[in-house]
Structure formats: C-alpha cells, structure tokens
Symmetry: C2
Subunit: 413 residues, 2 copies
C-alpha cells in the first residue's frame, strides 16, 4: 500500500471519531493548535528556510517565492486565523429542517461532516493551516497534498497542529499530509473513491483542469474567475470609476478581480472612463469600437475575451445595452462574479435573473466575493461549478446532511 | 458535431430561457404535457409495442420486459405523476437566506436551477416522463439518454411533452432525447463539461460505476443500497418481525430494501425471528453463529456482507451489540439507509450519530427512503454520495443557489 493510501485510510478512521467530537473539544484543539504554531515558530521558520533555499537555487520567480515565504508576522496571522475559526459557531448537528408525515414518521434533516476531504494545492503554506482549521471545525478529516516545494514548511505546520489535536484527545490523523511529493500522489488521491469523499483543488487553472477531468472522487471546482463589469447607460460616472478601479486593481492576481469591462453603447462617459483607466496604469485590450475611441488601447482578439489576466490588463468591449452584456457573459463568463453598475433597479434585477454566476453584484466591487467579506469567517476556496455549493466555501459548505427518520414500527404498505 | 453534442447545446440554450420562466408557465406546460401524453396514448403504445417486440425477439427476460411495458393504466400514471409535479411549489427564486454586512452590502442567497442535467438511465420509459417533469419544474433543461431498447417508447413520450412545452411558449429543447443509441452517446455526455452541468445515472451498479469513474461532468451517484437492519437487545419482537419483513420483502428489487440483518447477541428472540423469516420465504445467508442456531441457513461468505441481493435473500450476522453493528455498517454499508430497531432512545441516538448514511431510521422500515414517502412529491433518484444532496432527490435537490450582492458603490479597502 502506498504512503498516500495509508494516510487516506488513517484519515478515514479519524473522521469517524472527529464526526462525533463536541464543539468544545474541536474549539479547544484549534486554539491549542494556534498556540502550538506560535510556540513552534522557530522550527516552522527553519523548515521554511529549507524550502526557500531550495526554491531560490531552482530559480523560482519572485512572486512564487513571496507566496512560499513565512516570517513571524505571517505565522501570527496563521495562528490568528485558526483562533477565528475556533470562535465561529459549529455547523455540525444543526437541525436544518424537520417535519412529520401523515403516518406519524418524524423526519429530521441534520447537518453532518462530509468525511475525508482531499486538498490539492500549490505554494502558500498558509493554506495548510486554513484548511486544517476549517476541516477540523466542520468535523472532517483532511488529507493534504501541498506542493513539493513547500513540503518542509507544510510538514512543520502539520506537526504542530497534530500535536495539539492529540493533546485534546483527537486522533492525529484528522490532519494528514502525504509524504509522497511526486505527482503519483495527486493521481492516487483522484482514484481513492470510498476513502476520500471530496477533492478540492486549489491553485492554477492547469491543476484544477487536471483534477476536474481526471478525478473519480467528487470534486469542487474552485478558482477560475473571468469576472465582468457591465456599465449600464444610467450608471453614475463617479461610482463607475471607483468600482472599475477597485475591481481591477485592488488585487489583480486573485480570482475575484475583474478581467473584462463591458460598456453599454448608451453610456455617455466612456472616453472619460478609458482615460481614468490609462492613468491608473491599466493596460486596455479593446474591441474595434473601443480602439476607434482610444488610440492607446491594444486590439483585443477572441482570446482576450476568455482570458483571466490576473494582472493590470483589462479587456474592454462595447455592448448593445443590458442584453448585449448578458449574452457576452453567457458566452465567456466562468460563473464566478459578474457586476452591473446601474441606477436602474429593474435592469439590475434583470441582470441578476439572467446572469448565471456564483455571485451577481449590483453597484458593489467584484472583490467582495470572499468568505471573510461575506461574513463566513474564512474560506477554503471559491466554487465555480453548479452543484453542492457556489461562491465562497466556508464551514457550512464543508458539510452535508443526513435524514434521521424515527417511527414506532411503521411499515410501507 | 455529433447528434448528442447538438442536443446538449440546444438544451443549454433552452436552459437560459427556462431559468427565467414563471412558475405559472412551467405548471401550465407540465399540465398540458400530461394531457398530451394521454391524448397521444395510441402513438405511445404503438411505439412501446415496437420496443416490446424487439426485446422479445432478443430474448429479454421477463422482469426486464415488465419494466419496459406500457399500457393505458401506466400511461395514466405517468400523466398523473406530471400533474402532481405541476401542483408542487416552485423552488426557483426562493430567497434561502439574506443578510446585511457592516459596510452596507446586502447579500441574498437565491435558489436557481442547475442548468442542463444529463440523465443516463435504463429500461423504464416512466423515468422519461418523471425526469422531464422534475427538471422542467425546477427550471433545468434535460438531456435524456435512455436505453437503446426503449428508444421508440421514450421518443414518443418526449414528442408529446415537447409539443406541450412549445404550445406554452417554452423551447422544445428544454427536453432533449439523444437519437444516438450507441454507447458513444454515454461516453460523450461524460465529456461535455461546460455544457452539461450535472449527470445523474440511474440503473444497475455497472452503469453507475462506469459513469462515476469515467465522467468529467459532475455526477450524483444514485442507487446502490446495501441497507442493514440492526436488532438491538431491547427491540420488541413483534416490531422486529414487522419491520424486518417489510424492509426485506415489500419490494425486494429496489435499492431501499434491506440486504443484511444484524442481530445483537443480547437479543433474546433470535431463533423465533429466523423461523419467521424462513416461513416468509426469505433465503438466509448466515454467519457461523447464525448457522449454528439455524440448520436451514446457508453459510455466508465475505461477499454476502457486501452483496445487494435485490431478491428474497438476506444476509444475517450476530454482532456484539450496538458498537458491533456500527462497525459492521461502517465496513459494508453503501451510505443508503440503515435501520436500528430498539426501545432504547439513547442507543437509537448513538446509532443515528455514528452511522454514516443518507437515511438513518429508528423503528421505521427501510422502504421509506423515497421521495413520495418523504413528502417530496416525486424523485429523480436516491443519492448515496456525500456532496450536494443525499437521499431522495426531489425538486429542491435539482437546484443550486447564487448570491445577489447589492450595494451603493462599496469597494474593498
């Protein structure tokens, strides 16, 4: 049996114990895990140093190095994140609904953990602590498969967390990190039906595509966000400038940043908007109508409409009003976040009805699609598929339910 | 482009229209579809006759022929089923939850259709009408791929339904039946990511395994039920006999029938129970302890513990009380329905907490795991996986949600 399968089977055993753990026990374990991460900071930083040196000598680029890097402040942030999750209400055991049937049966729909969650992720060691906190709190065991280049950091963080779990009487195997750093472990996790109940890939489009198309285990697709901002005829120019700049530039490298700006032909302040964007350092890729209006814009090709730039680039197209925007988004959207800026409530409602995405915003930045901003406390990713859960995945989205049917001897006629 | 892909793309277009259709429009269309199925009964029966003749000359077995067969009464039942779905409340547009954020954002979580649902199913033409009714009512377009041997029947039913949809102003393509009767169409549906949003396989274990392990499109696993009945020390013998017989024999061929009986060593009426089962015509496959007690029982092997007999066979094992039952079910259960018979409320609660299944019953037949019995009106299958939905899949389980985020120009700092 391989190391990854062994880890998964241990996690499955641990999940049975964790599913029955009280909120108090889970919260104490997470609070102790936060303390342990701080107490063990030197060991974690030494492990991170090993990963950083290896990455530097492998010529890893600066952005990637920054994602890998840990210091005292980042470790404190990890620990604080775990404490925040500990302080949140426990979703497990909640009676979602209950009803009686005419034959006297009483049916309760009760929230329960999913079981074993497999996390396949890239770079940031912070994801290790976040994932452990969210899964343990929601009663799920987790099998972590971080990137090979962050293995020492991840292993050190997991060691601290497992120590705290054990001190609180929970199995260490609630949090497993596979020691197999080869690609085999990813392939293996995708085949462990009956052991892993759900896979969450978190990282670049390549990783997510590979897991979505290859996995036999159910997957929640996260991340890819070709988010659009549609500027309607009646939009207020000041609000348009503020929302477009925030949606594009507040943090361009993340999935909820805007990638395409759709402007209604009836909006009277387009030239001014394009000027503001240039001044803010946004590189515009315009359709023919935009390029005719703006000599600085680069001509957009079909690929630009589909592109998730994750940079200060922005595709800009003129559309035939609301319906034009809706049709464009139906064609190119990835179901993440779509924004309409308008003073017309009816058009906002029509946009909300017709656009199919996890989040449809009206006069609010696309950057709000985030577990923290939604009030979920934390998130394990942002889902863009159409089943189970959409948008920010918090504690509740890591649960499912079972039906408890109680009677006094009823049989079916 | 193949016929199946063309059907799927038409369904995707239709889904956009159907998602915005009012409850009244959908209900009228389904009511008219029910009428059309009755009006067109002769044509449907003639088509069914074609399928029946082909099946007979291919030497199809009697049970299968019965599943394929339609007559006037069965057609009326199909139409009545559609009327029942039409009469149910529309889940679409329901505000599941709404809240305000400190920055003034208002977030609404609104129930929406999933999009395009692919149904891959075997034999019964009744599934065609049920699936169309449930998907249309829940605002989803459906691509049907029934078994090749039921194609004429399915096509005739779909023709009637589509005519009614069009008369009510809905696109015919809300309900598509692929004309490709080869296995290629199944393989193709499993690869249509971005077009089909969810696949529901319904049929034998072979079909379900194939779809679950091969599909790139998200799948809801339905059907396989290795359901256990656990008889606790304190169970009342009369209730035990009634519940075990009903769970096993009321309809042995379906997934919510019991397949394994676990008896606590502390239950004092085992011999009497085994005798009752023999008298009722149940073929017992016992473990060593059962065979020692009962000369008629066949010795059970490992395979019997995992077997979904779907017949009057029953595996019987003695267990070390509640924990023995829980451990046995954790090992062999398929997450469908598990029943404890006990007069001890604390043990029933412990069983409910520890057993991981879609439905955990206390003193009520396993046969109640059914959309109609739950009060859902109808069902498209019974889910046994751990994400999205578990147990009977009714209208609400064919939906998802989107977040509508409204503000007055909020940006993220």
């Amino acid at each position: 049996m391989t190391q990854t399968t062994e880890c998964a089977l241990r996690a499955k055993e641990a999940a049975r114990v964790l599913a029955a753990a009280s909120a108090g026990c889970k919260n104490r374990a997470l609070t102790k895990a936060a303390e342990a991460i701080e107490t063990d900071a030197d060991a974690i930083l030494a492990a991170n140093d090993t990963d950083m040196r290896a990455a530097e000598s492998a010529g890893t680029d600066k952005a990637m190095l920054d994602r890998l890097y840990l210091d005292a402040a980042r470790i404190k942030a990890l620990a604080d994140g775990m404490r925040e999750v500990a302080a949140m209400p426990d979703p497990i055991g909640q009676v979602i609904e209950e009803w009686d049937r005419p034959n006297g049966l009483h049916i309760r729909k009760v929230r329960v953990p999913i079981g074993v969650i497999g996390m396949i992720y890239e770079a940031r060691p912070g994801v290790t602590a976040d994932s452990a906190a969210l899964t343990v709190k929601s009663g799920n065991a987790v099998l972590l498969r971080g990137s090979a280049g962050a293995y020492a950091s991840n292993a050190a963080i997991v060691r601290s967390i497992r120590g705290a779990l054990v001190r609180e009487g929970l199995p260490a195997s609630c949090v497993e990190l596979t020691p197999d750093r080869s690609h085999d472990s990813v392939e293996e996790m995708m085949r462990l039906t009956g052991v892993i109940d759900l896979l969450i890939p978190r990282g670049g489009a390549g990783l997510i595509d590979r897991v979505v198309s290859g996995s036999r285990v159910p997957v929640i697709q996260t991340g890819v966000g070709n988010c659009h901002v549609y500027v309607d005829d009646s939009a207020r120019p000041d609000m348009v400038h503020r929302l477009v700049l925030n949606s594009k530039l507040q943090r361009p490298s993340v999935c909820n940043a805007a990638e395409t700006l759709l402007i209604s032909r009836g909006y009277p302040h387009t030239a001014e908007l394009l000027k503001t964007l240039h001044e803010a350092g946004v590189a515009l890729h315009g359709d023919a109508a935009v390029c005719a209006l703006d000599g600085q814009a680069l001509p957009a090709c079909e690929r630009d409409y589909a592109e998730e730039y994750l940079s200060a680039d922005l595709c800009v197209a003129m559309v035939d009003g609301l319906q034009g925007a809706i049709d464009h988004i139906a064609r190119y959207g990835t179901g993440h976040t779509e924004l309409i800026i308008t003073e017309d409530g009816e058009r906002a409602a029509a946009f909300a009805r017709s656009v199919d995405a996890a989040c449809v915003n009206h006069n609010a930045s696309t950057r709000f699609t985030d577990g923290g901003q939604f009030g979920f406390g934390a998130e394990i990713g942002i889902a863009t598929q159409k089943i189970h859960a959409r948008g920010p995945l918090g504690l509740r989205e890591l649960t499912i339910y079972k039906y408890l049917v109680s009677g006094n001897g009823q049989v079916r006629e």
